[in-house]
């Protein structure tokens, strides 16, 4: 069964709306990541975490909050969604950071109208 799952798979919201994207991993990995994927920009790291209660900023954190509630669960929060946040969002997990394979979820497509 899939080791990294994301929900919802698709989400449509309006400008100013409140959105929470969920990610769960069953790999027993310490590290979890949130990326956005956009044509011409590739995968860009928003936030990452190395354990429950920990949060680190990535390369494009503005407009996003995140929370790691357990080793398994990592949430991405958009409190005032904007059209510029329309994107494909991926969650990933890994045992370590720089040397370790990242395991990605299936993605969530978010549209902000």
């Amino acid at each position: 069964e899939a080791a990294v799952t994301q929900s919802p798979r698709n989400k449509v919201t309006v400008t100013g709306g409140n959105v929470t994207l969920s990610c769960r991993q069953t790999n027993s990995h310490n590290y979890m990541y949130w990326y956005r994927q956009d044509t011409g920009h590739g995968l860009r790291l928003i936030h990452y975490s190395y354990g429950a209660g920990n949060l680190q900023i990535g390369d494009v954190p503005d407009g996003y909050k995140a929370t790691r509630t357990t080793q398994e669960d990592f949430f991405l929060l958009l409190e005032l969604a904007s059209p510029s946040q329309t994107s494909l969002y991926f969650c990933a997990s890994s045992e370590g950071t720089t040397r370790n394979e990242q395991y990605f979820g299936p993605g969530t497509r978010l549209t902000v109208l």
């Binding site: 590739g42 680190q56 990535g58 390369d59 990933a92 950071t97 720089t98 990242q102 299936p106």
Partner: protein, 112 residues
């Protein structure tokens, strides 16, 4: 700024040809370079990786050639198959760093 660059956004080859995907990087401290493969509707998955102490890494039809002096590398897909059609991401990280940096991706289409 983009620390890892993939010069081609897309590439089309015929079935049976060798596809060559290029990648370059800025940071001399980068010493680990994974390539990820992404099929439509799925997340990326690790395909093959190389460390900077090597100049070549081979796994079946997939080979990475690495040039430390020029700060570039390439992924060669020999005998390309239509099933290889996907987006390929080059990534890089430093042992002293915090996380992997990804390139912008190259979308490969293999035409039968």
């Amino acid at each position: 700024q983009q620390q890892v660059r993939q010069s081609s956004q897309s590439l089309t080859v015929w079935e049976g040809e060798t596809a060559i995907l290029n990648c370059s990087y800025e940071n001399s401290a980068f010493d680990y370079f994974p390539w990820y493969q992404q099929f439509p509707g799925e997340g990326p998955a690790l395909l093959i990786a190389i460390r900077s102490v090597s100049d070549k890494k081979e796994d079946g039809r997939f080979t990475i050639f690495f040039n430390k002096r020029e700060k570039n590398l390439s992924l060669h897909i020999k005998d390309s198959q239509p099933g290889d059609s996907a987006t390929y991401f080059c990534a890089a990280s430093a042992n002293s760093g915090t996380y992997q940096r990804f390139g912008t991706g190259t979308k490969l289409q293999v035409v039968p």
